[in-house]
């Protein structure tokens, strides 16, 4: 059965359909953060027009939130980093994702899995935005700058007010 999450931001709401058949571990991990309220009050802290919007790890003021452990990278599940899909962000280590995710703002085929190497692992897609794409477009378009050693931080906080599983 398809699982669905609605995120409400100051810009409006969008709904995400999760692919728990193809990305079971990633979906379970994402839902556990949703259920614990981890994403409520976090911001989209990295917004790059024509590329992606990333969030799920920071409270306003670039304060990093504690997370659960790192999860296995399911990027080899055949799902592609197409526009409006969600994928897990991570460090350079392939299996290092925790709570941060990003929404692709374009077709980012070079983020797809190509081989089981550090360079080729890619980023695990686990869902897609099915309504409220205009809200995602609005977030992608906000003005950004450099803040606290980070590039591409929105000048005005783009906050996730609530993230709720739709049952």
């Amino acid at each position: 059965m398809t699982k669905t999450v609605t995120m409400t931001t100051a810009q409006g709401s969008f709904t995400i359909e999760l692919d728990d058949a193809k990305a079971p571990l990633t979906v379970e991990n994402f839902l556990s953060y949703v259920r614990s309220g981890h994403y409520d009050g976090t911001v989209f802290h990295r917004v790059i027009k024509g590329f992606m919007v990333q969030g799920g790890g920071f409270a306003p003021g670039m304060k990093q939130k504690p997370t659960q452990g790192e999860i296995k990278n399911e990027a080899n599940n055949g799902l592609k980093n197409l526009k409006y899909t969600l994928a897990m962000a991570r460090t350079s280590a392939p299996h290092s994702a925790s709570s941060q995710f990003f929404i692709n703002a374009t077709n980012n085929s070079f983020l797809d899995h190509s081989s089981e190497s550090a360079q080729g692992w890619g980023y695990a897609v686990f869902g897609r935005v099915v309504s409220g794409m205009d809200v995602v477009d609005q977030i992608e378009g906000v003005a950004t700058g450099r803040k606290g050693g980070h590039d591409d931080v929105p000048n005005d906080d783009v906050m996730i007010l609530t993230a709720v599983e739709v049952v």
Binding site: R90, T106, L111, Q119
Partner: protein
């Protein structure tokens, strides 16, 4: 144009990177100690997440067995220290095309094909050393095809190290004399039509290359751009080193020396 027409190999930046440095034509050589120091300081000090070395890092490279000796060993040590902090990748140039996998593995450096399509932050940049596009110099293109062939390389690498070093010195002297006799205005440059074709084949809008020691930006037929990195020299005054840095906002030229 060996290896050039088959389409560029894609090389992807990590999602989380913020800066990528591009540099070429450092021409590291024991006779150029200040250039070595400037390069070392940059490699170890740059805040970039990755440094891409686009050819002619070394003034000459006669085989990886030279890497254990004095100056070459110092260069390898810098690469190894830098690669512990950030991602390094190397594309061969016309002077260091004999850099082998042994050296790269030991130094923790990835290999880049020429050309390479760099994908970062949704941008697509075509990277090349540049010599493969200097088509007007037919004698050089013949020489290039010869020395890039596996047969020639096997034969050359089978020679004793001292013989290879002697030959390399002779080739470098001949090249310097040839360039001096022509004068800079006659040095071969990148063929803009061929560069535009490379861009079209790779679906990229800009090429970044070195080799010609003529830093600048040129419009190409068809609307693309060609950005040219500069060579490094901190052993003569004024010093010069034009590199470039990529970020989510695009390309920025950076002059590390006196010349801007």
């Amino acid at each position: 144009m060996s290896g050039a027409q088959a389409g560029a190999q894609a090389w992807q930046a990590d999602l989380g990177w913020q800066r990528i440095d591009l540099l070429s034509d450092v021409h590291l050589h024991a006779d150029m100690p200040r250039t070595f120091e400037a390069w070392r300081d940059h490699m170890l000090g740059t805040p970039a997440d990755a440094v891409l070395l686009l050819g002619d890092l070394f003034e000459v490279w006669v085989g990886d067995d030279a890497r254990h000796q004095g100056f070459e060993a110092e260069c390898v040590s810098v690469l190894r220290q830098a690669s512990a902090q950030k991602v390094l990748a190397f594309m061969p140039g016309n002077r260091d095309f004999l850099v082998g996998d042994e050296l790269l593995a030991e130094a923790g450096v990835q290999r880049l094909a020429d050309p390479t399509l760099l994908c970062c932050w949704g941008q697509r940049w075509l990277l090349s050393h540049g010599d493969a596009l200097c088509l007007a110099d037919q004698a050089y293109q013949q020489f290039r095809a010869q020395v890039r062939s596996a047969g020639w390389q096997q034969q050359f690498l089978a020679l004793p190290l001292a013989d290879r070093q002697r030959q390399a010195r002779a080739m470098r002297d001949a090249s310097t004399a040839h360039q001096a006799s022509l004068g800079p205005q006659h040095w071969s440059d990148v063929d803009d039509a061929a560069a535009a074709q490379w861009l079209a084949d790779a679906d990229a809008s800009a090429l970044i290359h070195g080799h010609t020691h003529r830093p600048g930006t040129h419009a190409l037929p068809g609307g693309g751009l060609r950005h040219v990195l500069g060579d490094w020299d901190f052993d003569t005054k004024p010093s010069r080193a034009r590199m470039m840095q990529l970020s989510s906002t695009g390309l920025q030229a950076i002059d590390l020396g006196d010349v801007a």
